[in-house]
């Protein structure tokens, strides 16, 4: 491993490798990515990999729309020899309360202003989109056919291969264990395999971001929260879009090969690093999903696993600079970091190379300082 670099990126998930790519694309040299395990071994390789643009604020609309545009051509741009499996099969978002109906109406007005042709569905229309949905309690739904999903392993691998071709060093099984600062500036990254002198460090450590922050003396109010997920055996095609219910707190989608993935949030999940899976999750998940989508009762679970959301206090990412010169943050994605990774990485790279920002207001809206200033970001449409 080299002992000098211009930039050290901590984390070989989608965020870390995408940032490395955007930096080298802009001519930055001597970039090292540190990954304590293998690529995608964190949240990225455990996630649902859904990509939605149906958000309720201008900020999240800009982040997600810009990212989907990139996903559409990413495979060619990265010259990846395999398929990143990007498919736009839509997101279907049912409403079960008056309050949700009101919120979705507001969202759809804003979304249409941004050029998204999101459809408003009355209960009688819903089965045209999701034929197996139970209509009990359903008050309305929104559906956007340009939302979708892609394969998180291949997308990460695609960025990583493009990075390596251009000269980025990706050091696997190499852990960052300390950060050396001097006069509030980054001096070196201390790793399990030696010290790397550098000017900048990017914290893209996902569920471990708060630990990496502490190494630089920067306290980040993020915490980790386990989220469980399962996959069934492939069955006949039953529905196409991702079905995401805020009311039940679950999402599910049938993959191209017929297998169905699904996850459900647990409001009692403790704030800790934990990726164990439980039988209780299987029961709870099954009970809810078979109520909303009854024919799924025949699907058989093959595997279950868990990953960590890196939560921020306002469930909105932290993207930006810190009080330590050269220490950048791309963390706290709160369960939707995969879908916005093209924009996250572009913004960080623009910031680091003093280019104008694609979304200038992130500097004051998504920065770490917002928590101290008490200016929490409010997104009405998160699970």
């Amino acid at each position: 491993m080299k002992n000098k670099a211009s930039v050290v990126i901590v984390g070989g998930g989608i965020t870390g490798v995408a940032i490395a790519y955007e930096l080298i694309k802009r001519g930055v040299k001597d970039i090292i990515v540190l990954e304590k395990n293998t690529l995608s071994s964190g949240a990225t390789g455990r996630c649902g990999a859904g990509v939605r643009q149906q958000w309720g604020t201008e900020m999240n609309l800009k982040l997600s729309i810009g990212s989907v545009k990139r996903f559409e051509t990413l495979q060619e741009e990265l010259e990846y020899p395999h398929d990143i499996e990007f498919s736009q099969t839509g997101y279907f978002m049912p409403a079960y309360t008056e309050k949700q109906v009101e919120q979705f109406k507001k969202n759809i007005t804003l979304q249409r202003k941004f050029g998204l042709h999101v459809e408003w569905l009355e209960p009688s229309d819903c089965r045209k989109v999701v034929p197996i949905i139970d209509l009990k309690g359903l008050m309305a739904a929104t559906y956007y056919d340009k939302d979708g999903h892609l394969n998180p392993f291949h997308t990460t691998q695609a960025y990583a291969m493009a990075c390596r071709r251009k000269g980025v060093d990706i050091e696997l099984f190499t852990e960052l264990i300390g950060i050396k600062t001097e006069h509030d500036s980054i001096k070196a990254a201390i790793t399990s395999k030696g010290v790397i002198e550098c000017d900048s460090i990017v914290n893209a450590a996902g569920g471990w971001s708060q630990i990496v922050g502490n190494m630089a003396g920067v306290s980040i109010p993020t915490y980790s929260e386990r989220h469980q997920i399962l996959i069934t055996e492939p069955i006949e095609p039953l529905f196409r879009p991702m079905v995401m219910s805020f009311y039940h707190n679950f999402y599910t989608q049938q993959e191209p090969n017929g297998a169905i993935i699904m996850g459900i949030g647990d409001p009692n999940e403790p704030k800790e690093i934990n990726v164990d899976s439980t039988y209780l999750f299987l029961q709870k998940m099954a009970s809810v999903v078979t109520t909303v989508l009854p024919p799924l009762k025949h699907a058989r679970v093959v595997r279950q696993w868990a990953g960590m959301y890196n939560m921020s206090p306002d469930k909105t990412p932290i993207i930006g600079k810190t009080q330590i010169k050269g220490f950048y943050l791309a963390c706290g994605f709160s369960g939707h970091g995969f879908m916005i990774s093209p924009m996250t990485s572009t913004l960080i790279a623009q910031m680091m190379t003093n280019e104008p920002l694609a979304i200038p207001e992130i500097e004051t809206k998504l920065d770490l300082g917002r928590f101290e200033r008490g200016e929490l970001f409010v997104e009405p449409s998160v699970v």
Binding site: T38, L39, S40, S41, G45, P81, H82, F153, H154, Q157, A160, M161, R164, L172, T232, E233, S277, Y279, L282, Q283, K284, M285, A286, S287, V289, T290, T291, L296, K297, H298, A299, R300, V301, V302, R303, Q304, W305
Partner: protein
């Protein structure tokens, strides 16, 4: 039929030997990476049949002994179970 391209390594997820070899060429050094990128070992048998074959390929390609390769994890449930029966259990407990 000795065409190498036709050799299937993982029957459950339909993964060919040539795909595994290509991933090794792309830089994969662990079973976990190969599993995630190819879906081998993610089928019904969770790799009971295919994982040794893949470990052999890794061992050959990187000239490391097979014992040095970390096997991938078996994910629960160990046998498949239908969502319907799980939901029933949940209702009983309520």
């Amino acid at each position: 039929m000795t065409n190498k391209d036709e050799v299937i390594v993982c029957r459950c997820a339909d993964v060919k030997l040539s795909e595994i070899q290509e991933l090794i060429k792309d830089g994969c050094t662990t079973l976990d990476e190969i599993k995630r990128l190819s879906r081998a070992c993610m089928g019904q048998c969770q790799g009971k049949t295919c994982r040794n074959l893949i470990m052999q390929e890794l061992s050959k390609a990187h000239s490391i002994p097979i014992e040095a390769i970390k096997p991938s994890r078996f994910r629960p449930p160990v046998v498949t179970i239908s969502l319907g029966s799980l939901a029933e259990e949940d209702n009983h407990e309520k």
